[in-house]
């Protein structure tokens, strides 16, 4: 199993009045063994910048993102905050286009869509689907593509609580079936504890890693009560990240 090393020395923005603002400074961590990792940090701490750098959208930084095996190009999938589907392509075509394999496996796509309750929308255009459905299509697209790492930028934000709960269950099911490294950005700690194997807390900008903590609750026992207890424990043990809890 390949390990993905993330080591960002410096990422700065130039503001409109020519000031240079550092958003990320010495941020390092590793991803391996198909872990589900949640990134938690205050808003404006450069979480989206971090994902954009890993996805290769932002090359203007110093540092590196690479696989431990030298010379191998890693593949990413990115599930954005908004669905970002191509409006002129059907659900099926949108998912097919995201694949990097020469031939598409439509059976796999249909199975994915069935799990997400979208089997009837195979040939619909995104325009005709509700936002919740479009988000599920984006989820299917991210999981269909074979990748070394799946990036998610608060994909469940602004869903109502019951829908979000259902989406989380679905997300974990999909991930357990199609194992891979996941980097999930959120500002909701309860959500993070429910989903993650590991929590990475990052500071406000210029951001770096404050704490890297394993969630040692079995997945079947992540009830609201246990999550609450985990949080209490965490804040009593780690005064340095108490402000994020």
């Amino acid at each position: 199993m390949n390990t993905l090393n993330i080591d960002i020395k410096n990422k700065a923005f130039t503001t409109a009045d020519k000031h240079s603002v550092t958003v990320i400074e010495d941020l390092q961590f590793k991803l391996s063994n198909n872990e589900f990792v949640c990134i938690i940090g205050p808003s404006g701490c450069g979480k989206t910048s971090l994902l954009n750098i890993i996805a290769g959208l932002d090359k203007n930084f110093s540092g590196s993102v690479s696989l431990s095996e030298a010379g191998v190009q890693f593949k990413t999938s990115y599930i954005f905050q908004n669905p970002r589907l191509l409006p002129w392509r059907t659900v099926l075509e949108n998912i097919q286009l995201a694949s990097n394999e020469p031939a598409n496996n439509d059976t796999k796509i249909i199975q994915l869509l069935q799990r997400l309750g979208l089997e009837d929308s195979l040939n619909s255009y995104p325009h005709h689907l509700s936002l919740g459905m479009q988000r599920r299509v984006a989820l299917a697209r991210g999981f269909y593509r074979e990748s070394d790492i799946l990036l998610m930028d608060e994909p469940l934000v602004s869903l109502d609580p019951p829908t979000a709960r259902k989406a989380r269950t679905l997300l974990i099911e999909l991930w357990q079936q199609q194992a891979r490294n996941v980097l999930f950005v959120t500002h909701d700690l309860d959500e993070a504890i429910e989903l993650a194997d590991r929590l990475i807390f990052i500071s406000s900008s210029p951001s770096h890693v404050l704490a890297d903590i394993k969630v040692d609750i079995a997945r079947s026992e992540r009830s609201a009560k246990n999550i609450e207890q985990f949080k209490r424990q965490l804040s009593s043990q780690r005064a340095d990240i108490a402000h994020l809890i």
């Binding site: 954009n52 996805a55 290769g56 959208l57 593949k75 990413t76 999938s77 990115y78 954005f80 908004n82 970002r84 191509l86 409006p87 002129w88 392509r89 286009l97 995201a98 990097n100 255009y125 325009h127 593509r145 990036l151």
Partner: protein, 251 residues
């Protein structure tokens, strides 16, 4: 979309056209002059030109010139328009060239092309392209500026590569702009082609109309014009409109 299409979609334009022909007929018979022949006389001339095969010959040549210069202008214009729309620095540098090109009268480019390259086919086509090109560039540049950055990012994150990004992400968004410049382009180009033919070719509609002008044959001028308008309308209805409809399927 609202359903405002009447049950007989052809009825209204048909009525409107009939009215136009009636006004023409009334004017022609009241004025009773050689400079305004009646619709029937024009129809006669049209049939005569068709049966001699002359009309088809010249119309064919003009349409051929129109098609070639249209495709060159659209292709080049789209490529340059995208480049200028996506790269601010390039655009800032070449913007003044575009302003100059937009402001040179068609007649001047045509004459210059004939002087520089001689009275040859290439000069004729080149002159038409140079006249149309800046309009295409300006329209497509606007479209390229309005491209959805989020979708472009998605394409990059999913490693679409340049070809797939162009065909799946960029061109579908430029489509309305391409269609708009194709429509105005068609109307503009055929007028320029006629002038180009009038000034330096020995065949085509423009040449024929020039000939009729010297012979003072107004009926034939009108017959040729009518036939040309019909062809352009047919292209609009049979090619451009269906293309437009097909591209709007997903909306």
């Amino acid at each position: 979309m609202m359903n405002t299409t009447p049950r007989l979609p052809f009825l209204q334009p048909l009525l409107s056209l009939s009215l136009l022909i009636i006004i023409w007929q009334v004017l022609a018979s009241t004025l009773n002059t050689v400079v305004l022949p009646s619709p029937l006389l024009v129809l006669d001339a049209l049939i005569a030109a068709l049966s001699s095969g002359e009309l088809q010959h010249h119309l064919g040549i003009t349409l051929y010139r129109l098609a070639i210069s249209f495709f060159i202008a659209m292709l080049l214009g789209t490529a340059i328009g995208v480049a200028l729309g996506r790269h601010q620095k390039t655009n800032a540098f070449f913007d003044s060239w575009l302003v100059i090109l937009l402001n040179i009268p068609a007649l001047v480019t045509i004459i210059l092309c004939y002087i520089w390259f001689g009275l040859i086919e290439t000069a004729a086509i080149f002159a038409v392209v140079v006249n149309k090109l800046p309009n295409v560039i300006v329209t497509i540049r606007e479209g390229a500026r309005n491209l959805d950055e989020e979708l472009l990012e998605m394409a990059e994150a999913y490693q679409f590569g340049p070809l797939k990004t162009l065909s799946q992400v960029i061109l579908p968004q430029l489509y309305p702009y391409i269609m708009a410049s194709a429509r105005t382009g068609l109307a503009l180009i055929w007028k320029i082609v006629l002038v180009v033919e009038l000034l330096g070719r020995s065949d085509g509609m423009g040449y024929q109309i020039h000939l009729f002008f010297q012979l003072f044959d107004i009926t034939s001028i009108m017959a040729y014009t009518v036939s040309f308008i019909i062809i352009i309308q047919l292209i609009e209805m049979m090619v451009l409109q269906p293309l437009d409809k097909k591209s709007q399927r997903w909306k």
